[in-house]
């Protein structure tokens, strides 16, 4: 800080002014007139120097006041620095917290994007994974067929769902989609539909929720593409309140 330097300079200036005063002491001149004139001149000069000293003292006080304020600022800056250090410590202590998890996520994403990660998930491996998934889905279809075959026929529920499907497909709302079969048991239905084209398929799927068989429940489906853009989809819909078998 520059304030102590200024204060020292002013103090030295004050001393210099006093030195001038001492150097001009009229008692050191020779002769009574000279002494008298000298006293008069010296008197006015002393007053001038005194005034100068008073100004410099006032300035010095002001500088010292500024110095004290500077010290206060320095104290405040020190406190801020301590606060900052404390916050940094707290952030470090939160190393196991959300921020680090975010960082971990970012790093994981970066790692995934890296060429190393891409190499490890090579095209061949992805193809293998796809083939394995197709096999898993085929096996799951067999599991569902097995479950359906093993269930008894619930006269009330199964007949109601089968009838509702037949009625729904007799109307005009499902244009382009035909019900091929509907077989329900006690907790599961197998529903097979044929679509004339992708548009009919899309329209059917869009409003599948309006069919009682699919209301408030889940289903598994498998679609087989046919000729001329048509397709056949087989749905396995669980009875409301029942679950589909877990896919292994």
């Amino acid at each position: 800080m520059g304030s102590p330097g200024i204060g020292t300079a002013l103090a030295l200036g004050l001393l210099a002014a006093l030195a001038v005063l001492v150097a001009r002491n009229p008692e050191r001149e020779s002769g009574p007139e000279a002494a008298e004139n000298g006293r008069a001149t010296a008197g006015s000069e002393v007053e001038g120097v005194k005034a100068e000293v008073a100004r410099m003292q006032a300035r010095l006080r002001a500088v010292l006041h500024e110095q004290r304020k500077g010290a206060q600022y320095a104290q405040q800056i020190g406190a801020f620095q301590e606060d900052l250090a404390r916050i940094k410590r707290q952030l470090d202590e939160l190393a196991g917290g959300p921020e680090s998890r975010v960082n971990a996520k970012v790093k994981a994403a970066e790692a995934e994007d890296s060429s190393e990660a891409l190499e490890s998930k090579s095209l061949g491996e992805l193809e293998q994974a796809e083939a394995a998934e197709r096999q898993r889905l085929t096996q799951y279809t067999a599991v569902l067929d097995g479950k359906l075959d093993g269930e008894s026929y619930d006269n009330r529920w199964a007949e109601q769902i089968e009838s509702s499907l037949t009625r729904a497909f007799n109307g005009n709302d499902r244009a382009g989609t035909q019900l091929l079969s509907a077989a329900c048991r006690s907790t599961l239905c197998r529903i097979e539909v044929a679509h004339e084209n992708p548009k009919a398929e899309s329209q059917f799927l869009a409003r599948i929720g309006t069919l009682q068989a699919f209301g408030n429940t889940r289903a598994f489906y498998q679609r087989v593409a046919g000729q001329n853009g048509g397709s056949v989809t087989v749905f396995y819909a669980a009875r409301e309140g029942h679950q589909l078998p877990v896919m292994q």
């Binding site: 992805l126 994974a129 796809e130 394995a132 998934e133 197709r134 898993r136 889905l137 899309s202 329209q203 799927l205 869009a206 409003r207 599948i208 929720g209 309006t210 699919f214 209301g215 408030n216 429940t217 889940r218 289903a219 598994f220 489906y221 498998q222 679609r223 087989v224 593409a225 589909l244 896919m247």
Partner: protein
């Protein structure tokens, strides 16, 4: 508060707690992410600059398709833990949504269909749905018609995905 709403809030709380305990990815999408599912009546779909999608027709329902970005493409753990669709409804006409989990070519997968009636801010909740390895998710909804000048629509949808 209806029993259905209370149950959904409870389910949301359970899912959120489960998500906190296990690794889960939460994303909320604005309703305006949804696209027209068919050209018929598409002109009745209104996208608000505040992020909602509404059906302004007082006669017809509209179909919208709402995308879901799948972050974790391998199963497990990338299954859907839950989906919550927030509707703004001026009448008691049910909204219907189907949540699809499809394989990469869309030939097979799982689906779940839910209805919700009620008036005002209504939440439709989907429980966990199996994902298909490397496949994708999508939500399709039928938004019921408006009541006078009060449209019906999707405000937002929350997706909880395992990771």
């Amino acid at each position: 508060m209806t029993h259905q709403t209370a149950r959904l809030i409870l389910a949301m709380a359970i899912v959120l707690m489960a998500g906190a305990a296990q690794a889960a990815d939460f994303k909320t999408y604005p309703g305006a992410m949804c696209q027209p599912g068919e050209l018929t009546n598409a002109s009745n779909i209104e996208y608000r600059f505040t992020g909602e999608v509404f059906n302004t027709s007082t006669e017809f329902s509209v179909l919208v398709v709402c995308p879901i970005v799948r972050d974790s493409v391998f199963t497990p753990p990338g299954d859907l833990r839950a989906v919550f669709v927030r509707f703004s409804k001026p009448n008691d006409i049910p909204a219907t949504c189907t949540l699809f989990s499809r394989d990469q070519f869309g030939t097979s997968g799982f689906m779940d269909t839910r209805f919700t009636s009620g008036v005002g801010n209504v939440v439709m909740g989907f429980p966990a749905l199996s994902g298909v390895h490397i496949g994708y998710y999508v939500l399709s909804c039928i938004v019921p018609h408006a009541q006078d000048d009060r449209p019906s629509g999707i405000v937002s949808y929350l997706v909880v995905e395992g990771e």
